[in-house]
Amino acid sequence: MEIVEILFTVSFWAAATRIATPLIFGTLGELICERAGVLNLGIEGIMTAGAMAGWMAVYQGADLWTGVVFAFAIGMIFGFIHGLFTVPLGLSQHVTGLGLTLLATSLAYFTYRMILPDVPSPPRIEAFQPFAIPILSEIPFIGPALFKQTALTYLAFVSVAVVGLVLYKTPLGLALRAVGENPAAAEAQGIDVYVMRIGAVMIGSGFMAIGGAFLTMSAFNAFFFEMIAGRGWICIALVVFASWRPGKALLGALLFGAFDAFQVRLQQALGGDIPYQIFLMLPYAFSILALIVMSRRAAYPKALMVPYRKGER
């Protein structure tokens, strides 16, 4: 069985990690928003905007890390709009999020066309290059798969650890979880629910934007229309799959990456007999399946999608 053997090759797991990276950022970002009680359906558009903004900054001469910071900042701006609409104004999180996806996507496309009116093919940039992390990359098998990646993938790993620590080991994290579970009680403790929620949505949206930027600055090195291709929606499914825990989000994203990488290799092995679209459907079908399996015992943050009004019970 050649196909099964693929699973035991380093190159397969290295590819899985690459595919997982934007999903790690996106899932982490959505997780932060939802932990504070705000569903952010702007994710697909924010990832698109981040992909465009980071890439464009570098294309205009900024260095790579400036591009990443720029993408993060753009994400935070969109996050602020979402926070403003859904938290103090208490507007529908579903509709605001979808509106934000439409806005961020069309702004990204419009800006791209404004700056580059007629380029025959998408221009490329000098993107992040993979490098091996000394000691860690020498661990047999796992080392070369996980630790011979680009800087953004390492940033994704570090972000998971930092977000996990902040969420569970600091007063800030406790406050954030409190406004997502029981905002009235949080307010009684002297926590400003609005500030916490808007802040969480802004930070979370920043992470989503970096997830998009990974695609243009570390994977494809160019910006294409429709390049996010539902990755944002998959992240929302992954948050449920991960039961709103950063560590499980990392595992979920890696599992999804592995599944997607396997699908590509299966397509190469069996191509010709089966239409390629069947293979391309698998990741979406897999996400729906994962949702079905996990939804039964999903422990939603109690105040998710419940607007909070000061001084009301």
Partner: protein
């Protein structure tokens, strides 16, 4: 000073709110126009002229509004019951695919039977597709937002597979497209040599029918009650799951009809660029209409004007027609702000 919920919305406010939202959106969209260094007034003048400036322009706008009325109704019905059907795009394509499968020669019937047949199978396809996420929501608690969104991608790939495979037109010069719809299944044109077709009449009739259903029947009352509070609806003895399934089926069917209209009325065959996001624009239409089925028709016309006009403006002065998407997305957000005014009143005391 405090906000208090309104129990009734005065008609003047119900009209003023979306109107001011649109004005605000147009003002905001002037920023990218200024960036493009074109005259804002000229650009908006061109959009207006391109959408309504001639007989042909008006027919183009009406043709564009047709699928938007259907997808707008699909969103309005579902959102009223708080069933978040974001899958109208997929339901539209599945409706179109089924209509193409039946209408390209698989069945041969005279026109009076053939057209109803493609309409019914297309609506059925959209309805059945929406049944999956509705049942998953009711039985297993799976969030329908994500499932409907992800199914859009699955359906698009399925359509791609079909028109590159078994349904591919052998005479299509290698392009991935279906065979043309047979004459008997083609919706008649309303105006000769234009693209506006009988689907427009059906869309308007659907709008009226949905309005009557939502406002004047038990079905509509139940749907609104479930949307307002599922717990209260259950307490009042309403069969909440059955209401949800009914709403899902109607919503999916309406989106499916949008696809039938595009393939059997406008394009004549199925391709992968049949819809430039009509399913998603339908959400904007529904929100601009504040989920009122009759207002959906007007809101769809507005969105169609923006899209058709922006294409014209883009050709005339070279500003990207993504401006249309910007105007539409911005008007969704400004409409949300305006909805605060219709839902609450400011009380000074």
């Amino acid at each position: 000073m405090r906000l208090e919920p309104r129990t009734q919305v005065p008609l003047a406010l119900a009209i003023a709110a979306p109107a001011s939202a649109i004005v605000l959106a147009l003002l905001l969209a002037a920023i990218p126009l200024l960036w493009a260094e074109v005259s804002v007034l000229e650009a908006y003048g061109l959009i207006f002229k391109g959408a309504l400036g001639s007989r042909f322009a008006v027919t183009e706008t009406l043709a564009r509004a047709t699928p938007l009325i259907f997808t707008g109704l699909a969103a309005a019905v579902a959102f009223r019951a708080k069933l978040w059907n974001i899958g109208a795009e997929g339901q539209l394509y599945l409706g179109a695919l089924t209509a193409a499968a039946v209408g390209t020669g698989a069945v041969t019937l005279p026109g009076f039977a053939m057209i109803p047949l493609v309409l019914i199978v297309g609506a059925l396809a959209g309805a059945l597709l929406m049944l999956i996420p509705t049942i998953l929501k009711l039985r297993l608690g799976v969030d329908e937002v994500v499932t409907t969104l992800l199914l859009n991608f699955v359906v698009l790939l399925f359509v791609s597979m079909m028109i590159e495979g078994p349904m591919k037109d052998p005479m299509g010069m290698g392009w991935p497209q279906s065979e043309p719809i047979v004459e008997a299944a083609t919706l008649p044109k309303l105006v000769a040599r234009t693209r506006v077709h009988a689907g427009l009449i059906l869309a308007i009739l659907a709008g009226i029918a949905v309005w009557i259903m939502m406002q004047r029947t038990t079905w509509g009352f139940e749907a609104r009650a479930v949307g307002a509070s599922p717990a209260a609806a259950r307490f009042a003895g309403m069969p909440v799951p059955r209401v949800m399934i009914r709403v899902g089926l109607i919503s999916g069917a309406l989106a499916g009809l949008a696809g039938v209209g595009e393939v059997a009325g406008l394009k004549g065959y199925l391709t992968l660029d049949l819809s430039p996001g009509f399913g998603y624009s339908g959400i904007v239409v529904a929100m601009l209409a504040q989920l009122n089925a009759l207002a959906v028709i007007v809101a769809a016309l507005f969105v169609a004007i923006v899209f058709v006009g922006a294409d014209f403006m883009s050709r005339a002065i070279g500003v990207s027609n993504y401006l249309a998407n910007l105007v539409v997305a911005t008007s969704l957000l400004t409409m949300l702000l305006a909805s605060l005014a219709t839902r609450y009143r400011l009380r000074w005391r």
